[in-house]
Symmetry: D2
């Protein structure tokens, strides 16, 4: 069976697993004060070209988002996000549980435009009763988005400009950042992300780690007592070195980008084959997530060899599906998938 | 100057003020354990025909909503509301500050339909990932709505049926309930409200009290330790009898309805005069709030004699305004307003 | 019956009630933007000699404490208080409901010493694991304390020095501030309080108002968006002028101090009579609250003419009681109480 | 160097690491819906003799405590705990961040007595103003305690009886449960724990797992929608199977108890050697944590071969230290430690 359900169905990239095994019997101090975590943080400061960045390694995405947002917002402030944003939909109210409203804007293929953000802020403060409303205190975007699309460098710069003009921190959810950095046509680097955002995270769980997300605060003193905040959110791993070992492995010699590029290359092959066969992509995604409208009997046909997620009906005869590649996907598996597709279309 | 900005620009109805003055030098126990509060609660139990209702008298609307909603929801649940609902827009995140998400549905003239609520719930539980989402834990509606419109008894019954079918408490924000009960064409009583809702409040601040809202929990044991919850929300008035005195005055001999009817009658006269003069009501409101699109120079003209709120432009030449009547509005003031209107239209 | 249960068993001082009645039919804008509130705030800025003070008028003490503390603390911080402090015991968890821990220190007659506070802070930061603990983010004291005792100016200066040395705001709960300012031997003024605290409130509810507390933030920009925070805490009164009218009345021509002095004078007479009769005060309170250990049959004897609170047994034959005077207590009532006391002791 | 700082300084027990490596390339569904997690939960239901137990596997202790407590308490309720309890001291306010007060009782060697708990509850409800206070809504104890001591079965039964009598859930923090179950003189089983508690967790992080805690809710329907609550607390691991694999390994063929017994046996040897040499244990701990008062120069001497934690001075010449053993401690290391000790004492 070919697994294309998600990028976190397998364990860790073998290099990561090897590193964990190799260090297993060592002793080290807990809570991220160990040398491996220090090394990973140094690597991140170097790769982001941000020597003053404050970095914490956390276990998962929801806790990273909740901690980061809680660290920035005051009580009367909310976080502005696309109504398709992960924090607005799929985190079971984790942001609200910390007391913060998620203020939503309509999205285009998962993306927000600087113009819409600017208009929201302007209209908010133009309202006579804005003191009775939740003020936008920061902006949350995902790169890539929940639809697999990416913001170009110019789009990021425009969003960053609006945020800085209004003294509103920009936070980027990088759960799948590996695939944005290596996307077809990506025109930005990790250093660009660090320069344009005030805070972001480098996702590990969905890009080759067993688990782990590196929260990077690039604006000095944006979050007061980050360590205690992470602890309070229950997000401080006792054996913190497990995160340090994983991230230093991923970031050494470009493994993180190789993982991203591998998955993107295979996703592009899947996309090309489906488009060639005449099927419509839901959005034009240059990353490892592909959403397609397919005939229901083709879906049944593909399901004989591949496991992937069904996203709902599309009229009476078609449905939307999602295909996701990862480090664990092999070229041979993609070949087989395409062969089964061709077999169907040539019947 | 004729004040039509809101129903809370003056103090209290003279009978309420007299009652407060007459009892001012008496001593009584605090925190609502006094005889006046007990009397007011008895009157409410009788008028709602709900002898087992649990009742607390609070100071203001935002704290009443926050306390009531916090009392019902578990952490993983949110409150379903119209996206125009007061809790969704104008309470500065009070609901989220208690940890709860406001789940919004599009409204029609401020109202939600049972069909839309049913569909929301059905689709929510049909979603594979609903365990990762905030579950709808209760329904919030306003009667009348923020647009002055009212739900008919049949509409309330349909909403109540949906809620009970899904074991989801129905909460009615009655900040202006006086004007719904006495609206043109209202076909429900206070007892109907109590029977169809699981919890609601009888608004005092906007209907003749200096301040005060009577929270009525009609479903036994819906809220555990309501008294402590009110205290925790900072909503327990030390001299609680002030609330008891006001509500027992308002509810004695139908004063509350008289206040409502007085304001509605005057509002209907304003509406009729404006419609006769050819202007469009924004919505068809049978209560004390009237929203109209008027030419900007008519607005300027009216502003010479009357104070009222401007709600934003409507094209280049018109704007939306709101007129609100109350116990403090006099027939003579309405006559004068209409005369100035006629003076303008007959030029 | 002579009521000595509390200073909030009656309504408002007659001058306050008169002012509310006299303005009842006026119309004004809501939420504290009215001229009366502006006047009251100006008076407070003048009396505190703090022209840059930011002031909000709230309804009650618990909501004022919860709002003020929530406005200052970041999530990882707690508020340091005496273990007898009102916020630590009698506010139903209102501080924790906003996410903040109350860190308690043992008290002496309700008071904290600068030395103990300094030691707490020093030991906290000396602990290796302090990053895993709740940091002291502000200091809360009550003036007078819950036991009726007061801090001298020197004691306040010492506490203020410790707080400023550690950049930790000092907040003073002044629910009964009227009685501290006019206490026997008080050596501080309202301006001293404003100078030494970073934030405090002038209590109205327990000193002649129907209700109301004036929150005064004397350190510029200590609390961001105070207005919205008050709204979010459900503590923004719609008819805000009611608070403005009450405070401008209380603060005009020294009424607030006269109310304080009146109550303190009568309390001193009660204290002297009890001490003369050979009974022990629980603490040496120079304010309007007196705590005494009395024989149980004397308590029964006094209860025939006076209502007051029982605070628990003191051995087999005695109990602790509390006597509280206010503007509503008359010299004749105190004479009568003392006569009944003498009658008992001379039997 | 011999590491006796904690039981979480090394990675995972080799069997656990092997199991993770062996399954690394498999694909499985996320969020704990995989077969490994189901297997681990079945094993727990069998070992606890509680077929109806609801179980979730979480990553760490603080998040497990915060989630469990938040799932049980209503807003007006607090959690009763020893003032030495982990939640009261070392979780950076995680409980308060969810809105709940930690109500503390003095401890004896880290333990609470049923008598003290009963008295607290009785006195709480005897207080006239208890409605203004935070009600004790559940009891939290640690087994073993933070001092290494354990509750006997009889003590647990007494606590459980008090809790059930007052309808107050009993929650046991089992971060180091492995060492309590295998302690010298332990007279209870895992099934006893499950029978006497309403909720507890089986700690993995400190007993051979890389990370992981198994939260076991033995009272049916105690926590509503546990899955969503875990997600909301940011405690739902994407690759949930990692927890399932670890717990099924630990619980298979008694590995968990073997890990516990190994560490306890070595701890008992350390204790015997120190006592034989004439030093005082701080408390009489039968588990893997030993606290001793030692002369400062002995501490320096031992530090040449061993790493362990310093817990503060004990007079001018002595200090308190903590020694902790684990699966990673070897008999040879303990031999060496004892040899160095003897070398010092025989000088």
């Amino acid at each position: 069976m070919i697994y294309l359900n998600s990028d976190y169905t397998a364990g860790a990239h073998p290099s990561v697993m090897d590193a964990l095994s190799a260090t297993n019997l060592e002793h080290s101090v807990g809570y991220g004060l160990d040398p491996y975590t220090k090394e990973a943080c140094s690597m991140i400061r170097r790769l982001t070209e941000c020597p003053e960045a404050e970095i914490m390694l956390l276990v998962g995405g929801t806790q990273t988002n909740a901690t980061a947002i809680d660290g920035v917002l005051r009580h009367h402030e909310g976080v502005l996000a696309a109504d398709s944003g992960h924090i607005a939909v799929h985190e079971a109210g984790a942001i609200e549980a910390s007391g913060h409203k998620v203020l939503t804007l309509p999205h285009t293929e998962g993306k927000l435009s600087a113009k819409d953000v600017e208009r929201y802020i302007t209209e908010f403060y133009a309202d006579d009763t804005h003191d009775h409303m939740v003020a936008p205190g920061m902006l949350y975007i995902s790169q890539p988005t929940e639809y697999g699309t990416i913001y170009s460098r110019q789009e990021l710069e425009a969003l960053s400009d609006v945020c800085r003009h209004h003294d509103m921190p920009l936070y980027i959810d990088g759960a799948r950042l590996a695939y944005a950095l290596t996307a077809d046509g990506a025109d930005f680097t990790l250093a660009d992300i660090a320069r344009l955002a005030d805070m972001f995270y480098i996702g590990g769980t969905k890009a080759g780690a067993l688990f782990g997300e590196a929260l990077v605060v690039t604006r000095p003193r944006l979050v007061k007592n980050l360590f205690s905040l992470v602890k309070q959110h229950g997000a401080l791993l006792a054996k913190g070195r497990l995160l340090g070992i994983q991230f230093s492995t991923l970031l050494r010699d470009g493994l993180y980008e190789r993982i991203g590029r591998h998955a993107v290359t295979l996703a592009m092959r899947l996309r090309a084959a489906l488009q060639e066969a005449g099927y419509d992509a839901v959005v034009d995604s240059p990353t490892n997530q592909q959403f397609f409208h397919l005939p229901n009997d083709l879906i049944d046909h593909l399901h004989m060899v591949a496991s992937f997620d069904y996203w709902g009906p599309r009229g009476a005869t078609h449905s939307t599906i999602r295909l996701v590649t990862s480090w664990a996907t092999t070229p041979a598996e993609v070949d087989e998938f395409i062969a089964v597709l061709k077999d169907y279309t040539q019947r």
